[in-house]
Subunit: 723 residues, 2 copies
């Protein structure tokens, strides 16, 4: 049977009948559809389906049926059908190949659902508000396939118009099970039939009884899909196991060669060789440079082939135009684990750079090379005394960072360690991702026993599905904090200038975060804040937060900020307030929530009592203590009150609030170095005691909200509905 249509982009749109049959086979609740060659058959089909019916023309040449006038609705009997066929025949002319007969489905609520394929994620599923207003209102949810029935339910809840799925003006609530079947069915179709490029169901009608029926559906095939080759430079020749092994050797390297090592500083940067030496790398470090004999008394070699041993890692730091030769030297010397520091490839946007990138990609693929970079800072591994930039803490810690930007890798490590004493076991800055991509590092890291928190800065990714799978798998055990840049039009353009990566579409990345439960941040600072919350607090039972502060105006801000960030500041019960009132008088102390009490900060035993009452109340999941340093600082006593509060919290805070995260916030507005110094004292005392300290309310509450969202997600993920 014909009716299939080839469209401009070489896809073939299947006929209504073929489309319907495929969707039905995958569990989509499709309305009956009869195909009739002529009037008599149409009447027969109408009788079989049941009146009232709709009759439409059928034929490959008939794309816009309503506009062509070849649709007749609400036909109530045989003569209506006969007349409709007659009129349609006149309107369609030679394009007519037959008639389609459908039931006239009642229902005012129309939705759409579909599947499509888009890089970097591949098969995706959508569900949204349909009908004539669909485009104008644009209320749509996306997911990357596979989509479970539980995820399909979440897609429904995500719509602004979700209320339409409930009881609606005398009509029954939508059968969400049927909708979930439809969405999950599209997901299976996408995965099991790679030749299906797109499917589009519009409308999916909710009847007055809540029953769901797909009325019009079209499926498009991409016949070329099997022949397509991905030309993306991935480390395709290597197995995941080989890559893991290579990364293991690189991060624990005992011998490193620096190609292009030099005695000259370049601006403020002393060169990678000097950085490694200064950081105290204790393995064999070989400068490779044909133009010099030695650097600081260390013998230099003219080429890798001249080295006395094969090394664990080659770092290439020569101008871009010399990188192909350096890679040839790697292959000649059988050194296949490489970090290319050099920039000036496709990210430059210049023809020469793009040409060079293609060239080194060929060399890398042919030579089976494992490459970090180019255009990146490479590796920082404090335990192994490896560092390819200037400053970084020598202390090691639980965070593993994967960063497409060298600048952000440096800024994040500085910021997290400085403000929160959160340290790192490995940082990989990987730039243009010639062979090794974020997915490879994540795959390697997920099992690393030294890592308990993963932080990623990514601009693009080659295999979004693999990223989704890896993050989904890793996140419940080790929270994955992701800063995805280039989420806006102008941002995306800057991405392509920076590393040449293709940035994904915002809606699909939204879906990525919803599906994986990864912790989403939008700046380096926010990433550090979140890392601190996860490091110190680990878990929270919920979003109900008590805020203890001094000064009413600040109290209002706290409540506003909490609400904005998605945290609750619930009113305390009359009973709880009465228990606090028993020892804190009303004047100057507002005992609601925020709890605003000067007295409790002047007499810390009272603060402890408040903690105890909050803890016992069962009304609170988190406690934020907000300290206005200006106000607490007393010139006569040199701010000793602040020390006393910090000491009291450090000693008693966690004990008095078992299972309840305690977070301290400070604020400073007066221009005073002494007061600023007190913030440092506060951080010293509290971080040592495992209590995170934030500069400002917003950062604290934002981080708590991320922790709460993570715990909720993991709780749900552990729920059998979500398996």
């Amino acid at each position: 049977m014909s009716g299939n249509r080839r469209t401009d982009d070489q896809k073939i749109t299947l006929s209504e009948v073929d489309s319907r049959n495929i969707l039905e086979a995958f569990g989509v609740p499709v309305a009956p559809l009869g195909l009739a060659a002529g009037e008599k058959e149409a009447i027969h089909e109408a009788g079989r389906i049941g009146y009232p019916v709709v009759v439409k023309a059928y034929g490959a040449g008939l794309a816009h049926k309503t506009e062509r006038g070849v649709v007749r609705i609400d036909l109530r009997n045989e003569s209506d059908v006969a007349r409709a066929c007659h009129e349609i025949r006149d309107a369609a002319g030679p394009d007519l190949e037959g008639f389609l007969v459908q039931p006239m489905i009642p229902g005012r609520r129309e939705f759409v659902a579909g599947l499509f394929r888009e890089e970097p994620f591949g098969p995706c599923v959508m569900f949204g508000l349909g009908g004539v207003f669909a485009e104008a209102i644009a209320d749509v949810a996306f997911r990357v396939a596979p989509v479970s029935r539980a995820q399909a339910m979440e897609m429904m809840d995500e719509l602004r118009s979700a209320a339409l799925l409930g009881p609606f003006r005398g009509e029954a609530p939508a059968d969400r099970g049927q909708l979930a079947d439809a969405i999950a069915g599209l997901s299976r179709l996408a995965l099991e039939r790679p030749d299906v490029a797109e499917a589009d169901i519009n409308p999916l009608i909710i009847g007055p009884d809540g029953r769901v029926q797909a009325v019009d559906a079209l499926v498009a095939l991409d016949p070329g899909v099997y022949g397509k080759m991905r030309d993306d430079g991935a480390d395709a020749g290597s197995s995941a196991e080989e890559i893991r092994r290579a990364l293991d050797v690189m991060t624990r390297a005992r011998s490193v060669a620096v190609v292009g090592a030099s005695r000259n500083r370049k601006g403020n940067f002393p060169g990678i060789f000097a950085c490694m030496r200064n950081f105290g790398f204790s393995g064999n470090l070989y400068p490779v440079n044909p133009n010099i004999d030695e650097i600081n008394g260390i013998k230099a070699y003219p080429a890798l082939t001249a080295l006395p041993e094969k090394v664990d890692l080659v770092i290439i730091s020569v101008p871009a135009r010399l990188v192909p030769d350096a890679l040839a030297d790697c292959i000649a010397s059988d050194n296949r684990r490489i970090h290319i520091f050099s920039a000036g490839f496709q990210e430059s946007g210049e023809e020469e750079g793009i040409r060079l990138y293609r060239r080194i990609r060929e060399i890398a693929q042919e030579g089976g090379l494992h490459i970090i970079g180019p255009n990146c800072m490479g590796l920082y591994v404090p335990k192994n005394r490896m560092l390819t930039w200037v400053h970084a803490p020598e202390t090691a810690g639980p965070v593993f960072m994967i960063s497409q930007s060298g600048g952000n890798a440096q800024e994040f490590t500085h910021f997290a360690s400085k403000h929160y004493r959160v340290f790192f076991n490995k940082v990989i800055s990987y730039g243009n991702a010639l062979t090794l991509d974020s997915t490879d590092f994540l795959d390697y890291l997920a099992l690393d026993p030294d890592t308990s928190i993963i932080a990623m800065y990514i601009e693009g990714v080659r295999d979004g599905r693999r990223l989704l799978e890896l993050v989904s798998r890793t996140n419940p055990e080790k929270p994955v904090i992701i800063y995805k840049a280039g989420m806006t039009d102008s941002g995306a353009r800057a991405v392509s200038s920076h590393t040449g990566a293709m940035a994904g579409d915002r809606k699909l990345w939204d879906a990525f975060f919803r599906q994986t439960g990864a912790v989403r941040v939008e700046s380096v600072e926010e990433m550090a804040d979140a890392a601190a919350a996860f490091h110190y607090l680990k878990t929270t039972r919920g979003r109900r937060t008590a805020v203890l502060s001094v000064g009413g105006g600040a109290g209002v801000s706290v409540a506003d900020t909490c609400a904005k960030m998605g945290m609750d500041v619930p009113a305390l019960s009359a009973e709880t307030i009465a228990r606090i009132r028993a020892f804190i008088p009303p004047e100057g102390n507002m005992l609601r929530n925020p709890v605003d009490s000067v007295l409790a900060f002047m007499n810390l035993e009272l603060l402890g009592k408040v903690f105890g009452i909050l803890s016992q109340s069962g009304e609170i999941d988190n406690v934020v203590v907000s300290l206005p340093l200006d106000w607490l600082y007393d010139q006569e006593t040199g701010g000793s009150r602040i020390d006393a509060i910090a000491g009291y919290l450090a000693e008693n805070g966690r004990g008095l609030l078992p299972g309840i995260p305690l977070v301290v916030v400070w604020r400073q507005f007066v221009d005073s170095d002494e007061i600023r110094g007190k913030a440092d004292v506060l951080a010293d005392i509290l971080l040592e005691a495992g209590i995170p300290v934030f500069d400002g309310l917003r950062r604290a509450v934002g981080s708590l909200a991320k922790l709460a969202a993570y715990c909720e997600f993991c709780g749900k993920a552990g729920d059998s509905r979500y398996q």
Copy 2:
């Protein structure tokens, strides 16, 4: 004729006919409506209106007509109408008072419009998506009346479903003029008929030809409106002129009495008397306290009546329970300009406090007192050496601040002066607003020649309409920056605990900001950022922003942040890039936008050339220079590069970029006091040269976006369409 209906809340809902007639009189395009006693008249009306028609039952007892089965649609001829009347008569029974006949209006696009009254703004107008999906989708815009036609147009554009008003699936675009007439008509109705409590038009149908017709409309009257008295404690007995005069005397006070002045410190607070003395108040300062003879050698008085003169300002700082007596003393001594510092009134939520508040309100009203407070910090006027708190700069400046919170008044003055050298001429912290409210201060200030920027922190306001009028009038001349707290549920609760003010509804405050063009901020820091932008930059031509930075990762962040904040980072034209390329080579320098060039920051003549090219290009409205201090700081040269950049920008930046705001952003991640010190040097040099310096991208771009939005609003406000 009856048909009017009294509802539960004492409002009277008018009949369809009366409702229609009122709306028509105010320019709302209402569909014809015939009223018929019986079948014959109905047929006559149908003939007059034109077929097809709708017939409905008419009667006060018939509220839910569709559910009652007393509506018949799409009646095509006389016999259809006759049958409909018959059926309706059977269904309605004794409730039937007649028949309504309307044309059957074609059109798939349904909207709603209405008016209502809500504190603190009074009459308000709404417009939104209508039809059966209206509630589920909740796509509605609000304005406080009066609403001009131009503002009505903005309401249409504000809807998410605004696309439905354009050409739509073969139907003509909606007649926006008619819609504007309907909205503006509702606004006039609200203002000219105070007895009209509500009006509700649903649906307002857009026909296929774009014509607008209101089909169902109901108007409700509030018969008690004329008898209602406002019991809100406003300074109602005084004219605006009297209040202005009182405030003028208070802010320029040459004699101040402090009732409750004491020698004792209260925690860290030395008392108001000491604050005034320490800040150098040079007028007559009288301690009033029956329990002491003197403070620091200054004679104390037992009561105001014992003072040698009437004073310009009385400050009351005694426990709440003693405030009524202090006010009686004010009246007895004919001192009517008062600041009540004391807290413990209705904001406490305690019965005793509420009782005391009522008591002092009575005293204030009877005595015609002008009161700032209670529960507030009062006045800071550097020129007059008045300060009622501990720290504040002695330098005076262009900002006037009105703050309902004393804490925020202090924090804002500290923050703005410390970070941006933005200073104040007057700050009024007014707490519970017993008589004087934010509107009184704004009215006084708007004409103050010392003020060019107004900053307000408000939690609630008594007369929202007056605030709207005053801000609308003031804002085009002197930007009004407003931090409205208590915009969320939990925030609003904290407001009521803080000052007992009623916080308005979020949607109406959104409308307030749209209508006034006031600069909206959501924290003290954001308020300071905005004040700095307005102070140093004054104006911008638009949102197209060039960002000059070092380091690609940061470039991506800049573009992301700009887009998120509503600023554009447009691609530079090929011609402009080529002009820059002529002297900056590709390697290590990305010349798109952000312009990422190491070289330009190493050779500042090149930076100047880039400025010149950007300025001449006509492609850019603002320039942001982003300086990563860690990267620029060179240990060998002690960061002299940063000094050099600051010096170059200070000397040449504004000259090379005429008419283009220049903003500098610094970032620091490395933990180094030396580098941090460089940020201070940078700020010293650049602020002195009138170039604002921000800590981080987000704050800079957020402030630029506020400036751009303000300039756009004022441009439109000056446009004749908006008169």
